[in-house]
Subunit: 563 residues, 2 copies
Amino acid sequence: MTAELTAHELIAKHRPTLDQALEAIRTRAYWSPHPEHPKAYGEHSSLDAAAGKAAFDALLGHRIDLGQPGTDDWTGGEVSPYGIELGVTYPHADVDTLLPAMRSGQRAWRDAGAQARAVVCLEILKRISDRTHEFAHAVMHTSGQAFMMAFQAGGPHAQDRGLEAVAYAYAEQVRTPGTAEWSKPQGKRDPLALTKTFTPVPRGIALVIGCNTFPTWNGYPGLFASLATGNAVLVKPHPRAVLPLALTVQVARQVLAEAGFDPNLVALTTEHPGEGIARTLATRPEIKIIDYTGSTAFGDWLEANARQAQVYTEKAGVNTVLVESTDQYKGMLSNLAFSLSLYSGQMCTTPQNLLIPRDGIRTDEGPKTYDEVVADIARAVDGLLGDDARANALLGAIVNPDVKARLEAAAGLGEVALASREIANPEFPDAVVRTPVIVKLDGAKPDDEAAYMSECFGPVSFAVAVDSAADAVELLRRTVREKGAMTVGAYTVDADVERAVEEVCLEEAAQLSLNLVGGVYVNQTAAFSDFHGSGGNPAANAALCDGAFVANRFRVIEVRREG
Amino acid sequence: MTAELTAHELIAKHRPTLDQALEAIRTRAYWSPHPEHPKAYGEHSSLDAAAGKAAFDALLGHRIDLGQPGTDDWTGGEVSPYGIELGVTYPHADVDTLLPAMRSGQRAWRDAGAQARAVVCLEILKRISDRTHEFAHAVMHTSGQAFMMAFQAGGPHAQDRGLEAVAYAYAEQVRTPGTAEWSKPQGKRDPLALTKTFTPVPRGIALVIGCNTFPTWNGYPGLFASLATGNAVLVKPHPRAVLPLALTVQVARQVLAEAGFDPNLVALTTEHPGEGIARTLATRPEIKIIDYTGSTAFGDWLEANARQAQVYTEKAGVNTVLVESTDQYKGMLSNLAFSLSLYSGQMCTTPQNLLIPRDGIRTDEGPKTYDEVVADIARAVDGLLGDDARANALLGAIVNPDVKARLEAAAGLGEVALASREIANPEFPDAVVRTPVIVKLDGAKPDDEAAYMSECFGPVSFAVAVDSAADAVELLRRTVREKGAMTVGAYTVDADVERAVEEVCLEEAAQLSLNLVGGVYVNQTAAFSDFHGSGGNPAANAALCDGAFVANRFRVIEVRREG
């Protein structure tokens, strides 16, 4: 096969970006090669908003035929949370045919080496980046994210996380040199001398099990970490969010083929309703790596049962914000209101429990009682979402009926400080759009504890009254230890309380945001700088992205010869 | 507590060594700060041979009281494979007291940071190095290694592996900076700005489960990797090989205390006969990391049951040497003879199966039939071990009755090409010293396959007749895939065969030594340059030492603040 894209060309094109990424993960300063602004994508070109929308529309009702071996059937049936039936169908794999086919290109992919794999991955990401407008619609109409969030989180931010994984994977593989001359002195005799070669080898086929809410953002790190370390990657999207990952696989296959590699190094499979194919795939002997985002129950099942694989899971957690005192009360209220509202709280990083002393807090506007603080947060959310257009742009749509059911049930758990409202979406009348509910609970009441100590995924927050700052710190510790947390936030001007919260986060391994009052929110992390999760508490067994996320996806094989 | 050793002093003393170790793991050239020659240890000083022997003798019959909390009892009863009763007793822990005590010093150890932890570890290793003569006797009289091997493998080589683990641990922790300023442009508005701190935090208490044959060499990587990444370390030696690790723990506790840290960060526990304490300890919630060397059965049990911990195992495997052709027949024979004889084959890296084409091989001395090759290998072993003094110095003693029983049973498995002989040890008349047995087997016979496809740990090798080089390569593949291998060797002058063997090793993740005919042996690996195991086949789930061995022993916690 003659490669249309030579390694030389790809290195010339992408090595500077790779080097910048390597520098960014070392300094952890701000950096991204992927523009966040929709207008940055070649206005009046094939990359712009109109072209992206047209490309998305052209997909609807059609089959995405990836040309994969072992396609025994086609599945489909995605319905957008905005009410559109996508009507797209995808390959359903006969895995006994597909998995062997995925292995046949692995040797050439391994022999290409870490740099060639990295630049092929960067070319895949670049082509995805060029189609960000199209992907934004695909993410929007599978996750229910509002367009701008789907654009940013599903586009540049997801691409950043993919690139970050490639950078870590590359750095890890080149820590050991390709060859070494070893010469051990032997006194007066000749030295012992060996020539050694070191080759990073893949573990096998990696499985990416996608999620409903962030198909690309949560899917790209595992996908690119595994591919860049030489593995083939089988992508099994969530049945409600296939399209963004199907397009991703399509791009990857195209680039691989153009670069002279076997396109079957990346493949897709979907499932029929109720088929539960992830369970079957996860325990196949060919599958050596699994990346999963989703429920704790299935994540725990994978960790216990997919023993032949390295398993990286992001599961449920209970995120806490401790509200003890502030010198920027208004900033705190608006920052919290945004965090609770964004994507209707359907982020694994959204705060759930707001721990507030029942005796109230100190603020720059004087002391505030517990009731006042809760009412002010409710009012801030109301204000933020008062305008329907803005509400729609922030909230997006409820992703599935389970979330809606939990939201509706939440009002029965305690005194409702802020009731959820329906918002009409004029563009998509069938979209289920809801504002968040805030329920008051008492940290000391066992019945309330049952509510606030469980993850209630969706636009539900609990204003939990606690006895004191010390009580809040202990509840934070217990929550992280027992339930896990992707994020912790705290507002305090008291150095002792700050130190106590920090100590809990260090001891229980939770990522902490302190006194955020501006345009950065506890539920957002930036690739190359912020870790997403810690891998050290029950919410996730891995962090995005660190050395541990990539180091065990390959092994280094040494061949030594005399002389 | 006033530290007798300040961090400043320790950094001044050990940072250059750490830097050299960091460079060595990057270049993988030869390096070691620990001399191999017994005379290098300050002759006529407190470090020399006589002083080391006297120090060892002074231990016999005494109690090693480590001053640990929760010592509820004392155990002992080690009998040297050379026949001496050591009569040393050690603390047996009440773990409900000891484990909480081990946690109380963790915060200060964490806050000290990666560099301070590294130099404290280097000071521990330096003190152990200074007592290498004493440790050599302790290793000899627990493992049965001959003195010179106990000195080198149990002394400088073990210390090298410990230092290598410290270097990897340090490098991994400082990949992320301690602080970062993050500033994200916002067009005409002020940039978003955050100050971020990143802290490596330990997972908890690490458990090292020691082995009988290489208590220090196999124990140090996990011990030092865990300690250097901020964890407390509980050492549970093999009941027959407590002394070398008890001394290690003693030194570690002393250095920690002198450096102002809690000595309980490193502790020892032993067990009563039949207590099986490893099983109990391994599933304690406080234990977050386990390093284990030993049987496949217990290693698999740990991986399946110690779900709260990161588990690093080195288990059994079946090591193969493929003998296809050579242009240095004499060198090959003497190299193989040494590999089979060293420490009576009681190394996890000793070759077991010698695959030899039944039609014979090409050599620089003309063609040799299968029978001739086997007879020549047998003769080479005989020649190497013909002198009893040299035999004793190479073989050491049989470590335990199980190995002796396997050796005796092996003669019944097929035609004996080389019978095992008893060697008298004039210095230690009770030592069980045996030369290796070589048994001929037919690769095509199912009965024989049952023998050569199982690990027969000890001085037992099988000369397996195979149909062809291709047959040998396929048997090698099947052996590594199904049984695992710590080492693979091959002798071939055929480029195609060499490439085929190499490809199997890359695909099945086994470390390969090619055409060794001089003073380097397939069963020996050098720290800083060679990987021990691959972590990619059933013999071990980790390699000594790479990024994956250290990266998940700690997590990085980020605290971010505005401005």
